[in-house]
Amino acid sequence: MSGKTLIKTLTYWDVALFLFLLTGSVTALIYVSAGVSKGAVVKIEVNNKLLYRYPLNEDRRIHLEFMDIEVKGGRVAVIDADCPNKLCVKQGFIDRGAIICLPNRTVITVEENGKDKRGVVDATT
């Protein structure tokens, strides 16, 4: 099939849908990444419970029974985990945003000092 027949297959709604999804997700991406700035605190949650909360500027290693986490040079990474596909390890070091490990129900988030911009209630306060 040549490009010409491909264009014939396309409907206006296809193009409209594509543009809508593209602009929508790009806008959301810009909006969210503007809200996610470089953090100062790392929070480790397992099973939706806050386990640890450390400043990001102190290097340390955190050993959980299923995962090793390293804080180094203002960034945090999962360096080893016992899950099958190790997506969390592949994500590497982050200084903002979050690392999510689904099999172990673990979320590592980097946040600004104390206050969360999006107004999520802090478990420790």
Binding site: T5, L10, L22, V26, L29, N85, A98, R118
Partner: protein
């Protein structure tokens, strides 16, 4: 269902499972980015053999694929199942109600969108109730889903065109 149709479904399912298995070996820049190439097979099944057939192939793909990759009944399986069911339902509904509005490319975009929404929602409600973490990854997933969905749709359109041609040839000779 005729014997021949059963064989066709079995073959399509085998394609879908095989594609799911091989897809894991394609290196991607973002670790959790998946191309969803099996959706090409699901879409072709939907358009040529109808919703029931597509639903069947999709279920076989999820179960077969998860057994192959060793995630059967794990969290990844639950997400994959919810995403796939939602995806095939949305594409099937759209194809039945308004078959002329979208080409396979539009259907593929809708399928990718609902697959991702199903996964994100079930990740949030079943596993991780961290709104902030989910919020951070959602736009990236939807953006990548739109791009891969469009690419899969184009491949599907090309494949359907070729299939039609070869069918015509068979009928003419």
């Amino acid at each position: 269902m005729q014997q021949r149709d059963k064989l066709t479904l079995a073959m399509l399912s085998a394609f879908a499972v095989a594609i799911t298995g091989f897809e894991r070996f394609i290196p991607t820049p973002v670790p959790w980015l998946r191309f969803g190439l099996a959706n090409i097979i699901i879409l072709i099944t939907l358009i040529l053999y109808g919703f029931k057939a597509a639903f069947t192939v999709s279920l076989i793909r999820v179960i077969g694929g998860s057994i192959m990759t060793g995630t059967f009944l794990g969290p990844a399986f639950v997400l994959s199942l919810n995403g796939s069911v939602l995806s095939v339902l949305s594409m099937g509904a759209l194809f039945r109600i308004m078959p002329k509005i979208f080409s396979p490319i539009g259907l593929s975009l809708i399928g990718a969108l609902f697959h991702n929404l199903g996964q994100i929602l079930s990740a949030y409600f079943l596993f991780i109730q961290n709104f902030r973490a989910i919020l951070v990854i959602t736009p990236i997933i939807l953006l990548l889903g739109t791009l891969t969905g469009a690419a899969n749709g184009i491949v599907t359109a090309v494949a359907l065109e070729r299939l039609k041609k070869s069918r015509d040839n068979v009928h003419n000779t």
